[in-house]
């Protein structure tokens, strides 16, 4: 049972344009969401997070939007840069429980 889903395995974007990565979840108990970025041969690196009591969190070029009614979150990268090319994992957790649940990842390719 995949509680966190990233339905797009890959995304290609031109440098300077917006990248939008999507994530859907099924468990309404999740109350904290995170995005991780992973380069080949490296571990995931924390990027940005959002609490379920918010609908938007922004950090520089990265913004995460949360739509609780739709059980959907998205990561916007503006402007996209070639160095953003990586696999992006969406993850969710129920605070007070131990388990971080990951999606399967979306591979982003930003071309010059």
């Amino acid at each position: 049972d995949q509680q966190v889903k990233q339905n797009s395995p890959s995304l290609s974007v031109q440098e300077g344009r917006i990248s939008i990565l999507n994530c859907d979840y099924t468990n309404s108990m999740f109350d904290y969401f995170l995005w991780y970025k992973k380069y080949p041969a490296e571990g995931p690196t924390f990027l940005i997070s959002i609490s379920s009591i918010k609908d938007k969190n922004e950090d520089g070029r990265f913004t995460v939007f949360l739509n609780k009614s739709a059980k959907h979150l998205s990561l916007h990268i503006v402007p996209s840069q070639p160095g953003d090319s990586a696999v992006y994992f969406c993850a969710a957790i129920i605070l007070g429980f131990q388990k971080l649940v990951f999606g399967t990842g979306t591979r982003l390719l930003v071309s010059p």
Partner: protein
Amino acid sequence: DAMVIQNPRYQVTQFGKPVTLSCSQTLNHNVMYWYQQKSSQAPKLLFHYYDKDFNNEADTPDNFQSRRPNTSFCFLDIRSPGLGDAAMYLCATSRTHAETQYFGPGTRLLVL
């Protein structure tokens, strides 16, 4: 720099030959996690320690064991590796269960 370190980065073992992967952290975090990630899949939590308290996921095979001799170190022991255990093994830490997890670079295990 405070960090999560995994050694070795690449490990080759033979079918059925015990292998140990190591993780150390300089973050002084209370919680340490072990994840298994197979190609194109989400990282899957195997178990975690909160201080010395060990928590095993229900579907983690008995073949996988873990030790945490002190705050800084955590080991993953695979008693009799099978071909299906070839994967990337990720160690992560967090200050508490409710806080962001920080990952090491991973150990890629190959079973011959």
